[in-house]
């Protein structure tokens, strides 16, 4: 009887552990899954951004490179057409000026996004429920590249003919190349 009891307890423990692990894998791991886990301590502030890029829930919020908290929620405000980010800041960081500046930046070249806070000069501090007024959106790499090329071609057109001609010549040569290829193919 005694041996039977330990056997049953052991089996029960194993099956319970197995299903707990399975539950974790199916619900906690995929982003689509149900999230459990209690709320962490701290106070909450919000910030509106024009574009959050690929900022995620759970992304860090830091000042001078030190982590102060994390992003708790991101949702869209249909009135202002802006993304509202709710930030949780650890309770130990109480004295952040309320005119601080929040910007979305990238970790490394291809890394994830995070929110960087730069301190303002105000004497009053952020508290639960306050809103960060000054924000800067995520820098989208594609936009940056577009801007760069727009600048490049307009400046080339005004200042010096030579610079502007370089890319167009290249394009022309390419065009000719493909044409001649087309010719040879048609000849065959």
């Amino acid at each position: 009887m005694r041996a039977n009891r330990t056997l049953e307890i052991g089996t029960g423990l194993f099956v319970l552990l197995g299903f707990a692990a399975l539950l974790f894998l199916t619900t906690q791991l995929p982003a689509s899954g149900l999230k459990l886990g209690g709320a962490k301590a701290g106070y909450h502030v919000t910030a509106d951004f024009d574009n959050v890029g690929d900022l995620k829930v759970g992304s860090p919020v830091s000042m001078s490179g030190v982590r102060l908290g994390d992003v708790e929620d991101i949702h869209f405000d249909p009135k202002d057409y802006k993304a509202v980010v709710r930030i949780r800041i650890d309770p130990s960081y109480r004295q952040i000026p309320d005119d601080s500046f929040a910007s979305i930046e990238t970790q490394g070249l291809l890394g994830g996004k995070y929110i960087s806070l730069s301190p303002g000069g105000s004497d009053t501090f952020l508290k639960d429920g306050s809103r960060i007024e000054q924000t800067q959106s995520a820098i989208v790499l594609e936009n940056l590249i577009n801007k760069f090329f727009a600048n490049y071609s307009s400046r080339g057109g005004n200042d010096s003919q030579g610079q502007a001609e370089v890319p167009s010549k290249g394009a022309g040569a390419q065009g000719k190349g493909s044409e001649s290829q087309g010719n040879t193919e048609s000849k065959r």
Binding site: T11, G18, L25, T26, P30
Partner: protein
């Protein structure tokens, strides 16, 4: 000579296939004795728990170290969670669990049944009109099939925490980024892939172990040889099936 080997191989394959069908037929009636099944789940699963958890932890930690070192070269340490989670869920957890299972539980099954055969216990059952397939083989087979996916899930979770331990605590990847990147990149079908694989491996490894024991030569040497064959055949079949299943899922 080679002709003989070929015939012997064919005979063994056929014997396994027939045994598999007989076992499947006996699986449902064997559920009428749940106590037998519980004992086998305990033997195959609960007693493999320690080795699975320990291996999972260390595999995860190695994954954390190697992944971090590799990803740092591309400046994307944040992807460590993704790499560890997908690697564990899809490949490492099912395969390593199956290999450990073959060594830990498969050998126990084979030698136990083989010894029953050698000491004529199985024959005695047959004489008493008790079907040994139903009461000896089927519960052990089912126990292995049920235990394997659960062990794999445990392996995955512990491995992920091992990777997190190294990546976040030791190497300084941000915890929030680690988990949010992981959650972003893992879909339900990745979990599914691992589970389907482990179920298939569970069937394969348990079938081989039970079959080798059941048809072992009834001598001390025969039982030993059968146990060796279980480990070799289970491991090779696991890796082979893994390739086929991966190709299927990708």
């Amino acid at each position: 000579m080679s002709n003989g080997y070929l015939l012997e191989g064919l005979r063994r394959l056929g014997s396994v296939a027939i045994f598999f069908l007989q076992l499947l037929v006996q699986c449902l009636p064997s559920l009428g004795r749940p106590r037998l099944l519980v004992k086998q789940i305990y033997n195959a699963g609960a007693r493999s728990l320690i080795i699975i958890m320990l291996s999972g932890l260390f595999v995860g930690m190695v994954l954390g170290l190697q992944g971090y070192d590799l990803l740092r070269r591309f400046g994307s340490e944040e992807a460590l969670g993704t790499a560890a989670a997908l690697g564990l869920l899809r490949e490492l957890a099912p395969v390593i669990t199956a290999l450990l299972f073959a060594g830990r539980a498969g050998t126990a099954l084979t030698s136990e049944i083989g010894l029953m055969r050698a000491t004529d216990q199985l024959t005695a059952m047959e004489i008493m009109a008790v079907d040994p397939l139903r009461y000896v083989a089927a519960p052990r087979f089912l126990g292995g099939v049920i235990a394997m996916p659960l062990l794999t899930a445990i392996f995955s979770v512990i491995g992920l925490y091992g990777a997190q331990l190294i990546g976040v605590q030791l190497m300084g990847v941000d915890r929030g980024v680690f988990w949010s990147q992981t959650q972003d990149s893992v879909a339900l079908h990745d979990v599914n892939e691992g589970m389907v694989k482990s179920l298939v491996f569970g069937v394969a490894c348990s079938l081989i172990a039970v079959h080798e024991g059941y048809h072992a030569e009834p001598t001390a040497e025969g039982v030993g040889l059968a146990t060796t064959r279980t480990v070799v055949a289970s491991s090779v079949l696991t890796l082979l099936l893994d390739y086929v299943l991966t190709a299927e899922f990708l």
